[in-house]
Symmetry: D2
Subunit: 341 residues, 4 copies
């Protein structure tokens, strides 16, 4: 249930509402917004009796939520959530381009890539500490040592940096260096990692798992919001589907998520297509369908990249995507469709 | 195997090559092209001995094809195939917009839709004779009677028209009226229908089946080409994938097909997304990824459409897509990526 | 809606009920059963008003059906449907074993296989007239000529024979020779073929399409029943799923179908697994899960089979499956689970 | 590469071989077996030069491995791996039945279930500490507190117990109490958890992720083996597939894994089917196809189970499965098929 406060409500009224919710055995979560403030009731397993609460001072009305997700839903937060990573704004205005090598490499090589993508127009730099390898005999990534390299990139170029968290024990350490953390697809339901990520004072980019439905992905985001992490950005990066490719980019997911949720959605075509020559066409499609930004694996010398050379594009291709974005700016913005009845 | 003729080859030389292929027990298929002519050897189950043929007069060289498809491949026809439906050109220049109601309705209603989409910018009119219903109790379509209506649309508006063929017995009758026929997804492997469609003097639009890999879809096209139907247009319209939607538009398929094949590829977002509010975003994505055109279900009063009202857009939305296409014209054309090694 | 007649109803009463249904603009379909007779109302798009009909003489009560399928449902026919192919009974007692080569080969070879599988315990012989090839350059099957061979098998061995129908123009001709026809998976939604098959005086085995949900498959069966074909047998033969194999046998489908429908379900592990060494384990699983029988590709010399040699088992393996069936006879029969609430 | 030692090799010879491998920059992993001992070379990215090593004393011959997995493969360990959990043997003889409630409940309720399944024939007791919930508002499981309950079950009934590990920080604590740990499907690629699990002196049951191919699952097992965890048991529990059910049990996976790998494979039909009435038919199918055992959610009062009541069966159903297993004992054991060429 969602308790919508009157425009002129006082803090004391809101605290009293929250106490009343607790007295019923549930957890109140306050959802401030541009036009209105609401208190979301969580922890209930069935309909909540609103007869008492709806008459408390400062309460405008109560609204029943029948969907399994509450805090991620536009019901509780009708306007788009806007999140800042460094000095870049995500969720309004131009889509953001996040670029970098698949993994952090040597400091010199990593800085070279960072300078090149920064110059070409990247808003944020991203590189993995740990490689998303399949087997034990592939390159494992530089690990924690890469944090030093990320700090160099940040200081030298003044660009915001992103790296992933995979272990609850090191999440805090990563967050001290980076401007936002990413939860990789294979950890989309890693509960102990969620607990750690929820407590970080950094935005969290939540990858969709390759077998997750949109609903399951939103429920994973709901877990972060329910623990107090307000700055969640979703990232579509391909789902498993029959056929000959590793994953298939689910671009339907972008308008579907925008319809249901107020959270921004990035798209990562590099991971999804797993082949260099297809990255730019799919990047265009992702921008066209309404993504809030792109995550791209870019390298100055892609063939020598430590991870994923086949899917890593070169800097001229990235520059082309920056130009594509400029053309797409001519498209009329579409508001999210009303949910299907 | 592909026998590439010299630029100055004579007809007699080519006939002799074809006879030599037949003498080896295989079938020759001549593939004329802008820059070169080739003879494709079909019917062999293993490598073909080229020692004799490669020395025949007029032969430049022989080229082994290791992929299962030959005639659809860029190996046998390196440049894009361009196909004309009525006065509309598909496969070069601007993407074509094909629009119309899900099914043919009454003559008056159908004409009203045709006039509206024509005025808004549709290049071709399409409407089904038979509804793609799931069960026996849904609207079955008007059937053969609709041919009269299509003829009216064609004559009154001077617009090319498309309808589907589903029965080998009536394929010829449909082809007499329309400018191109469409083989629906559920008939993608209907061999007797293929035999009938291969013999029609009309371009054939071949839908991808919802469980077909790109290779299987191209092999289905190969069956048409092997029987002498040169004018084949592919149409991606969604594949089955886990999650909550009917099908998922496989936009990877567009660059993948362009890489492998010279045939044009249309995209049908209406069938794939099955929800009105998502058609325009996905139409944009399909144009951005490089489709040769779109098939769209459009109606003057979508809620009253005889079939698929939920996925049918209104005329203003279609007009918006025409505008989107104009913006996308600013994107640099991308040549097909070289095939992965 | 389902109109359940009283146990002592007269033919005149039933005719009057059917007239009343027609008068309301719907189609009545009579469903006789062991314990009761019902009249199913079809063609309605919403709830039917039963106030008049429920008071007609001979009517016990009216029962609303909310599922999209009616005639295939246990609601309209609570007991298992039992179908006879030649002298073999399907749907009660022991599961039936249908065996034969992937395609009809020469008469001598085909008869050799038929004799061997008959001797080993096959109840029915099955071989395809047309090969389920992917591309135009593979073996196409012997076609109509194979009917003569099937007649020989039938006459010499006294065994029932099955072949597939793929073309509405030849369905009648096939049905004259065989004891049952099979609609291949790739024709699961071929409407003109359904019309032809519905009119045949032979049981119809309906393959599940590789991308069809259980509901869509049952709706396809509903189309046959709605046109008067009462003898429909379902056949699960693998669906598309991510991973490295052609298809995945959906053995959940067997208890799910038995729960919803009264129709028998066969399982074809050969098509599904596409590899010889996995046929017997999956055949065991299919028998264990409750299939009404198996369709198996068996050959005296599998490596030389004209089609599908990789998935064709030899006669000793088939004999092993016959022995497995004998062991499984010791399992307690399970009644279909009540539908989930 | 695999270095096969002669039957009469000495320890000193093997150590010298291992040193030689290290000198080439790779990691040796010794693989002892019933009939032979091998040293597996890991860490190489291409073919290894065997000219020196193959001539070392005690070396029989060298064998190139072209598959991505080595230690899980039958190439390195041809005979079935047999693993002991408590006094139960897995991987030879009768399949093992593992049973228990979805989650640990109160001590009294959990003990009641344990006593009932023990009496009915369960070889091992399993219950989750943490619920596999989708959203933040569902029952989260009792957590670490449940370890006390598991200890009670173990001591009172003398039955081996299994619980899952999800957090590297608590893996050791769980392993102190239980006889084997389980890595849940959603953690199939959780690298930090793998590091922790590899070091435990307990067998590890590795669930297949719902979007993992068999190869990816085996590569996950390879990661455990490469870190020295020799006692790995695989568990198939359903993959995502189109259609109306949560997951589809991939029973092909059992013969496929047995063909490639020496590790035992369990099947969990409860998680996969998500509906009580389908558990026993699928349990039968899993036993028939050759699973090394079953994991089943069983409760004395299933409707009141804290988690997954819909998929939890009652004790009489479990007793029925024990009887089914006795019948299946009559089936001839099948040896794993040779790998496809």
């Amino acid at each position: 249930m969602l308790i919508i406060m009157r425009p002129d409500f006082s803090e004391a009224q809101c605290l009293r509402v929250e106490d009343a919710v607790r007295a019923m055995g549930y957890q109140p979560v306050r959802v401030p917004g541009a036009g209105r403030t609401a208190v979301c009731v969580t922890g209930n397993r069935g309909p909540v009796d609103d007869s008492y609460i709806s008459r408390l001072p400062g309460v405008a009305h109560c609204h029943r939520i029948t969907k399994p997700f509450k805090l991620v839903s536009r019901d509780s937060h009708p306007t788009d959530t806007v999140i800042r990573i460094g000095d870049v704004v995500i969720g309004e205005g131009d889509p953001v381009l996040v670029a970098g090598p698949g993994s952090i490499e040597t400091e010199a090589r990593t800085l070279a890539v960072a300078r090149a993508v920064r110059r070409a127009g990247a808003g944020i730099f991203r590189a993995r500490l740990w490689s998303e390898r399949i087997g034990p005999y592939e390159f494992a990534g530089v690990g924690d040592e890469g944090l030093h390299t990320l700090r160099e990139v940040r200081e030298e170029l003044g660009i915001a940096v992103i790296a992933e968290v995979v272990d609850p024990r090191s999440a805090e350490r990563v967050a001290e260096i980076v401007d936002a953390v990413q939860i990789p697809a294979r950890h989309m339901e890693n509960e102990p990692l969620f607990e750690a990520a929820a407590g970080l004072a950094r935005p969290v980019i939540l990858d969709r798992g390759p077998a997750a439905t949109v609903e399951e992905w939103l429920m994973a985001a709901e877990r972060l919001l329910a623990r107090g992490q307000r700055e969640v950005i979703l990232c579509e990066r391909g789902i498993r589907a029959m056929g000959h490719r590793r994953t298939l980019l689910d671009l339907h997911a972008v308008p579907v998520v925008r319809q249901i949720s107020h959270l921004p959605v990035l798209v990562d075509p590099s991971r999804a297509v797993a082949e260099r020559g297809r990255v730019r066409p799919l990047a265009r499609a992702a921008l066209a369908v309404g993504a809030s930004g792109l995550l791209l694996e870019v390298h100055t010398t892609p063939d020598t990249a430590y991870t994923d050379p086949k899917q890593t594009v070169d800097v001229p291709t990235f520059t082309g995507i920056v130009e594509d974005l400029a053309v797409m700016r001519g498209l009329t913005p579409l508001s999210p469709a009303p949910p299907p009845t």
